[in-house]
């Protein structure tokens, strides 16, 4: 009854019920009768097909459900509620439970507070999050940690959350950080390992995004002169809002990377190509195929990956940070060079060695003048 057993084990495998022994046994049986493999492969493909969802129908079902709730006296809103509004939602049934009231009003207070902060922020037109921090004597109330080009740094915040700061980056936080709310402002790139504390959400403000965290580890790359802002989630869950679209929450899950285009990108050469890229995209974190290093966080080990779709101009920004050098392009065409998906990376290489490796992939000439690398044709 080998065949019967195969289907039995396959079922367990597909439903996620199989243990490791059963999986092994299935492998073995499949090797014994290779002809079934074709069927199994197709069933596995079939298995992954999702059932189609009629989105408009679901939405109208939701509307009908909400109005049904309203008929029964639940004050639920039809449209997406603003966060600050949810104080009015406790059902009359629960009114007699005092502790819940206390909890709800506490929540309300918290939400009101965050709404106020949010409101004040959304009014400063071009402002970075700094405006949300109260008080005029900004300097006195703030801690600032910054890293020079070519150096990295690790910071432990008062709540034990850890931030690794990449080169040429800056982290600002209030001296009272963590008393009520945990807020930091980031310019540049940082890897965050945030301590779990549902009572005090951890919020990161960048030029383009606000990121709300419960307890998680992730990487944020938001250099002012880069073309995009990237948020890569390693574990946990984060909620991201774009400053200019505060109503749209984007939830990121592990292994996902959110890339948002910075329209204010400075280097003209890159922006032409970049304009064709999507404004917002959710992608996957990239693993280095050989040893499984996560490319987005490789900088923590001082490693820089050459990605296939980056132009030399974009790569130069990364090289500037790693080596603490400036790059100048005397040739437009060279600045658009790409170095292919070789999966190469630089770690211990000197700047000369790195440039030499790049030359092999796509030839250009360069010379180094003090701390400036000048690239010619």
């Amino acid at each position: 009854m080998t065949a019967e057993k195969i289907w039995y084990l396959l079922g367990k495998k597909l439903s996620g019920d199989a243990n490791s022994e059963e999986l092994q046994e299935l492998e073995q049986l499949m090797r014994q009768c290779p002809d079934v493999q074709y069927s199994i492969q197709n069933i596995a493909d079939l298995w992954r097909l999702e059932k189609p969802v009629d989105q408009p129908e679901v939405e109208s079902a939701l509307q009908r459900h909400i109005s049904r709730m309203k008929d029964r006296g639940f004050p639920v809103q039809m449209q997406g509620a603003e966060e600050g509004d949810s104080t009015g939602t406790q059902s009359p049934v629960r009114k007699n439970r005092r502790w819940q009231l206390v909890f709800v009003s506490l929540c309300g207070l918290l939400l009101l507070l965050s709404a106020t902060i949010y409101f004040s922020r959304s009014h400063g037109s071009n402002s970075v999050a700094r405006q949300s921090f109260k008080g005029n004597d900004l300097q006195a109330n703030m801690n600032e940690v910054s890293t020079r080009m070519g150096s990295r740094s690790k910071i432990v915040l008062p709540d034990k959350s850890v931030v690794w700061l990449n080169a040429g980056s800056k982290l600002l936080y209030e001296k009272t950080f963590g008393n009520t709310i945990r807020e930091v402002e980031l310019s540049g790139e940082g890897y965050f390992d945030v301590m779990k504390d549902p009572e005090r959400p951890f919020i990161i403000h960048t030029q383009k995004l606000n990121i709300k965290v419960l307890g998680t580890a992730f990487n944020v790359k938001s250099y002012p002169n880069d073309e995009t802002t990237e948020t890569s989630l390693i574990r946990g869950m984060i909620e991201v809002t774009m400053k200019d679209r505060p109503d749209e929450k984007i939830i990121l899950r592990p292994n996902e990377k959110l890339t948002v285009r910075n329209d204010e990108g400075k280097s003209e050469a890159v922006s032409e190509i970049n304009r064709k890229k999507p404004l917002v995209a959710i992608g996957r974190i990239t693993y280095e195929p050989h040893d499984g290093v996560i490319m987005e966080t490789a900088w923590m080990e001082n490693q820089l990956f050459i990605s296939a779709d980056k132009s030399f101009a974009e790569l130069a920004l990364d090289l500037e940070r790693k080596y603490g050098m400036n790059f100048r392009f005397n040739n437009e065409a060279v600045s658009q060079f790409k170095f292919g998906g070789t999966g190469g990376s630089f770690k211990k290489e000197t700047i000369q060695q790195a440039l030499h490796a790049l030359q092999l992939a796509n030839y250009f000439r360069y010379h180094i003048n003090d701390d400036t690398v000048i690239i010619d044709k």
Binding site: A3, E4, W7, Y8, G11, L14, S15, G16, D17, C33, D35, V36, Y38, S39, N42, I43, D45, L46, W47, R48, L49, E50, K51, V53, D54, Q55, E57, E59, A61, L62, R64, H65, R68, M69, F74, V76, G80, A81, S86, V93, R94, Q100, C107, P198, M237, D247, E248, K249, I250, I251, R253, P254, K276, K277, P278, V280, A281, I282, G283, R284
Partner: protein, 225 residues
């Protein structure tokens, strides 16, 4: 729409030219349980209405189909699911104590639906054979599957010819991602039965796909024994 639901959001992203290479399926399926955990927490701790709406959006299609397979009326099925979600909102503060929210929703939908039936027809119990099942995900995109048109029709036929109970089990495992134990509790069947029915369903599918190949395999196996 104020807050984009994730599904739309991904769709939006994917419609951009040369967007990132992801399949919506991977993203949605893989992290669905994390998403549900997150929604549960937001509802339980913050009375988050947005999360509540999202939870409804995630589960109502599946639950409605499940309710429909008992009640066989679209309208009643929708009401039953609506009732389930009203209960969820009422007891939201204790939602956190429910370990397996998905299974809980399916079980509540079953109970509510059976109560509807009881009121209507005075029926007490419904046998798993009496469920009316329609498989939704057996839509074939020949581009996605390496199957010929002829084979596709054979697979469709095989799936549709499964006995009702077998089809129901197959649907719950494949389309709703339920575990064997969950299916057995939900339908009041033994795990053994669920296992056997799944084995049967896969065997039928496999032989529809493998066809002549499969025949020859089973004959060689027979000759080996």
């Amino acid at each position: 729409m104020q807050q984009i639901n994730r599904h739309n959001y991904l769709y939006m992203c994917l419609t951009f030219e040369d967007s990132v290479h992801i399949t919506t399926h991977d993203c949605i399926q893989m992290d669905k349980s994390i998403q549900v955990e997150d929604l549960k927490k937001r509802i339980a701790l913050f009375d988050d209405q947005q999360a509540y709406r999202e939870l409804f959006m995630v589960f109502s299609p599946s639950l409605q189909q499940f309710a429909f397979s008992i009640l066989r009326s679209k309208q009643l099925a929708e009401e039953a699911v609506s009732d389930v979600f009203i209960k969820i909102w009422e007891k939201r503060s204790s939602l956190d104590t429910i370990d397996n929210l998905k299974f809980y929703l399916f079980a509540s939908t079953r109970n509510t639906s059976l109560n509807y039936l009881k009121k209507q027809e005075g029926l007490r119990k419904i046998n798993a054979d009496d469920y009316w099942v329609e498989l939704q995900s057996i839509y074939f995109d020949p581009e996605q599957l390496m199957l010929t048109a002829e084979m596709i029709s054979r697979v469709m036929e095989a799936v549709n010819s499964l006995p009702p109970r077998c089809k129901l089990i197959f649907k719950l495992v494949k389309e709703e991602g339920l575990k064997y134990r969950e299916v057995s509790e939900l339908l009041d069947l033994s795990i053994k039965t669920v296992e056997n029915q799944m084995t049967l369903a896969l065997k039928k599918l496999g032989s529809a796909i493998g066809f002549d190949i499969y025949k020859s395999v089973s004959s060689t196996i027979r000759s080996q024994r």
